[in-house]
């Protein structure tokens, strides 16, 4: 198990390194950072001074070394907009996104398992068809449009829920979570249903029935355990994809998370903050991948033993 995890950490670290170098190249190759940080009106002396102060007159390799050192110290520079440390801004925004994503994934997985199992229990029954069509639609609805419809119906017309913001009780959570939830939920229901249909017709299910196991035990004990693997793969991908949704949801609902920070820094060309946000997201995804791999190993003994390189 430990060997397995160590190997996975090494192979998952490769994408992380790519991002670190990618961000460095982005900062250096897409134009002189001096032009990026200083206003157009800066004099040549000011430019030279800025370059010297930030080590930009050094060879590229020296700059790369400095850059890696800065990252190790979590020093991403200062925001152009607020003058605050970029790292501070990003870490202040991070918990808001994490809460949103964690609650969403929890609801999505629990709901999808229940509905997917119910639909798979009688395949092609009217309930199953309705469920398939609805989940397919849910997976195809653009999240930003769904959010706006939610605002229109529940915020503007009915006045039940606030249209944006985070101050207030539980009602501020409803629309952001519903928006973030809809796509992962639709996809997961389809995956769980598909995997359960296959598992419920498999020989081991027949064996479980013939030895007299209760239906509850057959469905949740035997079939679901085997159907969990594909669902876990997709759930992992969806959790990573939640970053996509978080950007949209946070922009629409004014949620002070990392997605909104990222879009704001793109629109206002605030490179230090963008860099910090991208690197933090990359590290989060890296951690998530390791966790998913660990879940695989816990679920399936074959994965534990045949640890792939």
């Amino acid at each position: 198990m430990v060997t397995f995890l160590r190997k996975r950490v090494v192979s998952s670290a490769i994408p992380l390194l790519f991002v670190v170098f990618g961000v460095f190249c982005l900062a250096r190759l897409t134009g002189d950072p001096v032009n990026l940080y200083l206003p157009l009106s800066a004099t040549p002396e000011q430019r030279a001074e800025f370059a010297a102060a930030n080590g930009l007159d050094q060879p590229v390799l020296v700059q790369l070394w400095d850059y890696l050192g800065q990252i190790a110290r979590l020093d991403f520079g200062e925001s152009l907009r607020t003058g605050q440390s970029a790292a501070e801004m990003v870490f202040a925004a991070f918990p808001a996104t994490l809460q949103l994503a964690a609650v969403t994934m929890l609801i999505a997985v629990a709901g999808a398992v229940l509905i997917g199992c119910a639909a798979a229990y009688r395949p092609n029954s009217p309930a199953d068809r309705v469920c398939s069509f609805l989940s397919m639609t849910a997976a195809s609805i653009p999240d930003f449009w769904f959010a706006i419809m939610g605002v229109l119906v529940f915020g503007v017309t009915l006045g039940w829920l606030p249209t944006s913001g985070v101050t207030g009780g539980a009602e501020v959570w409803v629309l952001p979570i519903a928006t973030l939830l809809i796509r992962p939920f639709g996809v997961l229901v389809q995956v769980v249903r598909g995997a359960m249909v296959a598992a419920l017709t498999a020989p081991y299910t027949r064996v479980a029935r013939s030895k007299g196991a209760s239906e509850k035990r057959v469905v949740f004990g035997h079939a679901l355990r085997n159907a969990a693997m594909p669902a876990l793969t997709v759930a992992g991908d969806l959790a990573i994809g939640l970053v996509n949704g978080a950007v949209v949801v946070e922009t629409i609902f004014g949620w002070p998370g990392i997605g909104k920070l990222m879009i704001d820094s793109v629109l206002q060309r605030d490179f230090a903050v963008l860099q910090a946000a991208v690197l933090l997201t990359a590290v989060t995804i890296f951690t998530l991948n390791i966790l998913i791999d660990a879940c695989y190993a816990l679920l399936d003994a074959r994965v534990r033993q045949a640890a792939p390189a």
Binding site: M136, P142, D143, F144, W145, V243, N244, R269
Partner: protein, 337 residues
Amino acid sequence: MTATPQDPGPTAQDPGPAPQDPGPAPQDPAAAPRPAPRPARWWTLLGGDRFAAAAAVVLGLVLTAALLGPVLLGDAAERQDLRASLRPPSLDHGVLGLLGTDVLGRSMLARLIDAAGTTLSVALPAVVCSLVIGSAIGMWAGYHGGLRESAAMRVADVILSFPSLLLAVVALYVFTPSVANLVLILAITRIPVYLRTARAEAAELRSRLFVDAARTFGAGSGATIYRHILPITLPTLLTVATVDFSFVMLTESSLSFLGIGIQPPDVSWGLMVAQGRQYLQTAWWIAVLPGVAIVITTVSATIIAAWARLATDPAQRWRLTAPRARRARANRGETPS
């Protein structure tokens, strides 16, 4: 797809030494006498699923509107008329006023059709580019195996391990958001999807007898991949491409909505939703209608993909050709009792 009807088993996928074009295009009925029973044509298969038929009609309409719209409507999408500002959808103002007008008095219908062209001109090239490049590299990697396979898969893993929107946001920070750059970025982020699928299929086919036979007859690796592996993997890849079409369309809409995709004065469905957002309280149709257009198109593409998965699988195709009653019986038989 429509070839080799004699054997309905899984081996029916084997295209033999002279595989026919496996694309969904109908083949010339006059060519070579068909053995009985006649193979199901793609339109018969489409008729076997009413949802899929409806979805195909919708997609056809969107495509026709995008192609013919500019010719038929002229500059109607740009023509402003402040007296007609924010008119709700009604039948009183001719065809162009059918879906109402926006704040500048421009016809929503004309703008929706114009936007369909923009959306498709991003989504279709992006899907085709990633399909062609991804499956070429994937089949090459899967056929050869070894170092080439691991190298290709590592690169795919790196791209896939990051959310596409994140990559797009970073890339569009550097490059100006234009149609060409959007296509490029979307294509690059979607290449790994095809690469993985094609590699898996090619790696499995590599050891099949007919590939061995081709190799024995002296076919080069390129010819073997093109003539023997591609025809079998193509249906799967096309199905993946249909699913991916929805995904690419949604990503483009999201980017345009966030302000880093299509830029005004160009118009796309996502951008229209963003523009309509500020009139949500007074003129709901500006934000609602483009979203409905996105949902209808993506749902149609998803339904077509589900149909294509059945139609290209010889073991499942009977579900589309068998009479309705028999299908219902079979479905009942499947339920656990």
